[in-house]
Subunit: 502 residues, 2 copies
């Protein structure tokens, strides 16, 4: 469907990227805006992406001794007074609960009983989990303590965008406490590596790993680690953060332990989180002008079987063949479970079903018609290809045997395309002085720049206010700078990413 063929989605990415984003979400039936300011409704097809995310992480957490728990939605206002720096980062965007009852008045229902102390709806749970850590941790034998929570959090959002910026969003937040700073920092980095594996090996999104600058790091953190990815509009998206807190939070919250010699020390803590915005990232990295495209490991449906029924005599045989295929493919495995295969038996035109599967980004479509039965072939279409190329398989068993490797090829292809896009559009500057020149130019996609960098708070303020550009991270590993750069000084200096961002 490249070139002059019609596209399913209008506008295209080139024409209007933000409008394209809204439209692919709508046609794929992933989510919609709620009647509540800034909030979203995650529809079943979108929510399945989040369930797959949760299931993947829960296995990884378990391997690492991280235990799930649940802490309250509400945080007393008094808790926020304890950590002024941390709170300043959230005070502008918290929802405040002030009343506990409604009564009917002339104009309708009105809030009745004021609470003794207002409560805030958690924008993050550092404060309430830290309070528990202080009670639970007495001795070095209680360490390390590794807790994770899957929860909803609220931060008012003035300009909501589905998945990317919503007042309420879903996330996991991990919180750990350790006896030593080295162990805590190693854990923050270990979790960053788990996120990298998820991004690259599940979402097929290539990432840059690094740390935030002093002015961009989490309030109260010693170091904030991050993964950054480039979207198809050239903007950066932060996929997660992992913070090493030092003893900053432990001091504010009295998280102390007795070591083997009975000395009392503050614990070293970490926290790390990943939100529903990763779904937005998968859409913006992989989607094309026909809709979303989901990498197989996260796709709610990996294979859709579509019977081509023409209201003729042969329809019965076609439907039987489609059902037999469903049976066979359901018994095959891919990644961490059985293949997620469905048969579309809805009463509508086969062509519409086919487009529906395209728009929903289902990796493999099998379109079975009477002619295919005659010719003893199973036509398979891959959503990662723009063209409607068809691969014919001779029988159900041959296809079932190849299904797993076919899905793996799709994953690898989507990942490689994203890498190619990044290589094509990421600009490599030999010196930070080029930054202003590069971002001065308006165009699509936005520039995404790597350059050697030494932290400079004033410079960051200038590019942020003048060009809306931030330093996304200082890279853990320098990338080879362009060979045609006349002044390659990367050897002895760290590299940073400069970009506009979500």
């Amino acid at each position: 469907m490249a070139g002059n063929e019609k596209t399913a989605v209008q506008p295209t990415r080139m024409q209007d990227f933000p409008a394209w984003y809204q439209e692919v979400i709508r046609v794929a039936d992933l989510a919609e805006h709620a009647p509540v300011r800034g909030c979203m409704i995650i529809k079943p097809y979108g929510y399945a992406l989040w369930e797959n995310t949760r299931n993947w992480f829960d296995k990884e957490f378990q391997k690492r001794g991280v235990q799930n728990a649940y802490f309250p939605l509400f945080i007393p206002l008094s808790f926020l007074q304890r950590e002024a720096e941390h709170v300043a980062g959230f005070a502008k965007e918290v929802a405040v609960v002030t009343h506990s009852r409604l009564v009917m008045s002339e104009g309708g229902l009105v809030p009745a009983d004021p609470l003794e102390e207002p409560l805030i709806v958690r924008p993050t749970s550092e404060m309430i989990i830290g309070d528990s850590f202080a009670k639970w941790i007495q001795s070095h034998r209680d360490l390390p303590l590794k807790i994770n929570q899957w929860a909803n959090v609220v931060r008012w959002e003035m300009r909501p965008r589905l998945f990317l910026r919503t007042s309420e969003f879903l996330w996991q937040e991990g919180h750990t406490a350790h006896a030593s700073g080295d162990e805590a920092r190693a854990t923050a980095l270990e979790m960053l590596e788990v996120y990298r594996e998820f991004a690259e090996e599940v979402l097929a999104i290539p990432v840059f790993a690094g740390r935030k600058t002093e002015s961009e790091k989490f309030p109260g953190a010693e170091t904030t680690y991050t993964l950054e990815a480039i979207m198809q509009d050239g903007k950066a998206l932060q996929l997660c953060t992992s913070h090493y807190m030092g003893t900053n939070f432990a001091q504010a919250q009295s998280i102390r332990f007795q070591d083997a010699d009975e000395n009392l020390s503050f614990a070293h803590t970490t926290s790390w989180g990943l939100t529903t915005r990763t779904i937005g990232a998968a859409i913006m990295v992989h989607g094309d002008d026909n809709g979303v495209r989901f990498p197989p490991k996260i796709a709610p449906i990996q294979v859709m079987i579509i019977p081509f029924l023409l209201g003729k005599e042969e329809d019965g045989a076609v439907l039987d063949a489609a059902r037999a295929l469903l049976q066979v493919l359901s018994g095959t495995s891919y990644f961490e479970g059985p293949v997620r295969v469905r048969l579309d038996e809805r009463e509508m035109r086969a062509g519409d079903k086919s487009w529906d599967a395209v728009k929903k980004g289902i990796p493999i479509r099998i379109e079975v018609g009477a002619r295919d039965l005659q010719e003893k072939r199973i036509p398979v279409y891959l959503r990662n290809r723009e063209k409607r190329d068809v691969i014919y398989f001779p029988d159900n068993e041959t296809l079932a045997g190849k299904l797993s490797s076919l899905l793996e090829e799709i994953h690898a292809d989507l990942y490689q395309r994203a890498v190619s896009y990044r290589e094509k559009y990421a600009v490599i500057a030999s010196d930070v002085s080029d930054i202003e020149q590069i971002f001065k130019v308006e165009g699509f996609p936005n520039p995404f720049v790597l350059a050697p960098y030494k932290e400079d708070r004033n410079f960051e303020e200038v590019i942020r206010t003048q060009f809306g550009v931030t330093i996304r991270c200082i890279l853990h590993k320098n990338l080879p700078l362009s060979l045609n750069s006349t002044n390659n000084r990367s050897g002895d200096r760290e590299q940073a990413i400069f970009a506009r961002s979500y």
Copy 2:
């Protein structure tokens, strides 16, 4: 540990049932009160029970075409005006969000910007999901629509009790819409049957299925179905509810569809939910004076291996044997997955580990010591038995082969004990006129009475105000009334359960 042996928990159930309940939760490390009014912190061991609950239901939902989704935490006040009767049931206990920002003043942080319209934190999502249903449903082809949500909800609670009554709790809420009343009612009953299966076959809790009286039903429902169970203090606990709404909610929220003849009709809706209080039920039905006892299918840990190390030469061999056992048992299956087996390698006395496993209600303990190795035996203790009877197995493979049936026996035994308890303490009255006499007497356990009943709102008001007794449900199936009853008139009349309740 029956009779004169010491018990792990003080007070005992007989001495003070509510205090016993708090204490078994504390020693099993399941949950604790949060520093926020009426809220709880669900600790990892308690949260695992909820994760197992969710995993079981998700499979059942999927089989029935119920899809998970996520709706906003907040509901605009204006939505509540639409359904006055429904809202009256919640107005007294809703949390109201009135402000969107905090600012620092002299006295500390204070709420800053008032919202244009106050929001309530969902006490249930009928109103917000109904609003979506109205948009999503156009034609009979969009029906049935079956949506479920796993979420946190808030209803202020003045006298909180862990799991049983907390201001914030976790639940699943299912919402469906149908073209016909028959289909909707059948769905409400089908979900009640799913809950029954969960109660009896997973939680090992025998239940009574029935419907609520007019005065006890959900505000706005046509019929409320329920499962009721007897706790060890004789009180009843409602395990779930399933509501057939008729077209009441559809009318309030304009959920309409065009039928095949293009006539516009209101949809028939249902809703059904089960909360974290089922964990409280499992504790109160199965726990004994040594702690909680969890039926194997819900137990976070099904088998705990405890090496008896004595600081001697043989310790290495004992630990090796324990690890080999862990390896073998991990490879076996029970119910819907691999056996959840753990090895307790903590540095503490083996006897303390053993008591810890008892208090945590782990169904099977394997206590391996040097002497057992010598005698080539594996000592297995079952938590469902009060006595420390031991079953010896000759080797790992024999035990592994028997593990699944051993766990199944434990389930059956716990279920049978609960049935026996119910048969022993449930009183059968031949006529409703006996009710007042029965509840007049103070004692432990509380009376739990079955009697023939014809709905009478005045009578319900009398027993509620005078004795704190409610009608838990009108039974779907009459039970045979006591043979020594002089006046058995059950044949032509419905039976109801009269009890004090949680």
